[in-house]
Symmetry: C2
Subunit: 360 residues, 2 copies
């Protein structure tokens, strides 16, 4: 198998037009996922660290509930990975709400410097990318990257009051209630079965707009950005799809999945054998009536921080390209008749042995 380090180009880690290979190691030293009841009942239920039955998470509003999800995730992450909050230099975090209020009120008690990010549902990869840059450059020892979403706060923000009980379009998706977070570190202290996980590369996305205006079909809005990002990653790193054991998009759902496969085929890449979408995996769409699948920043974040990392530590996947995808709209832009551009960011996760060499 090709080793990612054989792809390192000149220029201190810059690879191609929009990728970076992290020559100085960035280790994943902690991860946690906390989800709501519906996600807990889905196919990935057993992989999550915590399932919270109360949709209000003990608080008074949907927004506070999402903040509380973030707070619980950070506390549990520190506890599980045995870090004190003083060990964490930065948090890179975001959510879907206007002015990132879930993040501001969720993280304020930790007294850790915060970089607020907005990449719609691509935020988890944006956070992991920038966290990796900080660690790899030696400007931080330990950094948290985090993203959350909440079904009810997102419906209130983007769609209809829940009390309307409005019908959902077949192409629509169900916002995941959940928060996923990782700790990225310059030193590895958590090898499992002789395996450690490194973030070895990032590919940063452009805004891609095919002019789709249907906010109830976000898979179609985001798929072109996902295809563009995945193809750029292949070109920049000079690899073919089989370089990865798995290529994972965030929340394209069943409609977006077909489009991304088709668009990549047109670019000459067949990823159908090693492709999955977190939005499709997280719910049993037929039984749980989630239409095209799950969505939201939390969707890819919790799928990564449960099933995917679990499978990597178990030795089932050696190298993953993780590509959360975001639909760039607000109710204002939508009501003013604008299209819904997409963006995707990608990070490469790789199993290594604790000394930093490729595992197995």
């Amino acid at each position: 198998m090709q080793n990612i380090e054989s792809c390192i180009t000149a220029n201190d880690g810059m690879a191609g037009k929009q990728s970076v290979i992290f020559s100085k190691p960035v280790y994943l030293t902690g991860y946690v996922s906390i989800v709501g009841q519906k996600e807990g009942q889905g196919p990935l239920g057993k992989w999550f660290d915590e399932i919270i039955e109360d949709p209000m998470v003990g608080r008074d509003t949907w927004e506070e509930a999402e903040s509380e999800l973030q707070a619980r995730t950070v506390s549990r992450l520190l506890e599980k990975s045995q870090y004190k909050k003083e060990d964490i230099r930065y948090i890179f975090a975001g959510d879907l709400l206007g002015q990132l209020i879930a993040t501001s009120f969720g993280l304020e008690k930790y007294d850790i410097p915060v970089f607020g990010l907005y990449g719609a549902c691509s935020t988890m990869a944006e956070a992991m990318s920038l966290a990796s840059v900080c660690v790899s450059s030696g400007y931080a020892d330990n950094v948290i990257a985090l993203a959350s979403s909440h079904f009810a706060s997102a419906e209130k923000q983007f769609r209809y009051p829940l009390e309307y009980g409005n019908q959902r379009a077949l192409a629509s998706t169900w916002t995941v209630t959940g928060c996923g977070a990782v700790i990225l570190s310059s030193r590895c202290n958590n090898a499992q079965n002789g395996r450690a996980i490194r973030i070895t590369a990032m590919t940063t996305g452009k805004i891609v707009d095919y002019g789709v205006k249907d906010s109830m079909n976000m898979g179609a809005c985001m798929a072109p950005a996902a295809a563009d990002l995945i193809a750029s990653n292949f070109t920049d790193l000079n690899v073919t799809p089989d370089f990865y054991d798995l290529i994972v998009t965030g929340d394209l759902g069943s409609v977006g999945k077909q489009i991304v496969l088709q668009l990549l085929k047109e670019k000459g890449y067949d990823i159908s054998n090693n492709y999955m979408d977190c939005g499709i995996e997280i719910f049993d769409s037929a039984k749980q009536d989630t239409k095209a699948g799950g969505s939201g920043c939390g969707c890819s974040a919790v799928t990564l921080c449960s099933y995917l990392l679990g499978q990597m530590y178990a030795g089932h996947y050696q190298r993953i390209l993780f590509v959360p995808t975001g639909a760039l709209l607000s109710t204002v832009s939508y009501n003013e008749g604008k299209s819904v551009p997409g963006i995707a960011h990608g990070v490469v996760l790789e199993c290594v042995n604790p000394a930093g060499k490729e595992a197995m």
Copy 2:
């Protein structure tokens, strides 16, 4: 005078708890500011690159007007500093609108990878910090950092319809219509009078909440975060206030100014002799009826990218601590009775000779 490089601690640039000193140089190689009519009529009018008389900037909605402001700023920045868009590896950008729609629609045509940021009105320093990390780490040669705001899109987002003609509180501020952007680069190609400007350090802010709930008095909401950031910068870099020729906050206005001076005094620092606030300088508040001053991400961004950088190149300031400040609220959090936490991020700008040594 103390040289910042004498403050470099161990650990590859990490300084104290929340600062980084960029040992590998980050040069400011381009800057542009574009503002609206009212800003053009203010005391800094002659310093701006362009004053746009039409508040709609030739477009149909306030949000599109702000996007157009961003687009014009990037185009002019590339032209003025003689870069092609292909030379720019990333744009770090943000605005105040929900889901960053001014940024998404403003930057999509450039086909440059984008990191979307939200730090409320602190966004310009957040963007410059992360851009500096990317350049200093060798992961990018040239990066744009940008922030914008627009009076009318902000009023629509946060306050009342303009048609109401509502009364403005004395402590309220006037959102600046403007966009400021810089190019940060690994190589210096634009020395003026033997002077180049480097970003030599960053201090990243925590969320600071003193429980203030008055969204018409954002200066009071943000001042504690500004004081915390400035004091942390002094501690982390082991310097005293006179290390800087100027300490600049973003948009505290006349109310917040008094609070930040007082809070710093209580911490043992007197910055009254070398302090200024962009929100106070940008308007003639008595003549222009802007109450406590200017605000918005654009306020600090355009003041930096006009007057402040102009004064540095003219040799009047050798070293500036630039501290934009943000109020973390949305209409939802406000209407749900939440407080308005603040955040501030800081970057240190320093005149050097083109070979990278301290100028003069």
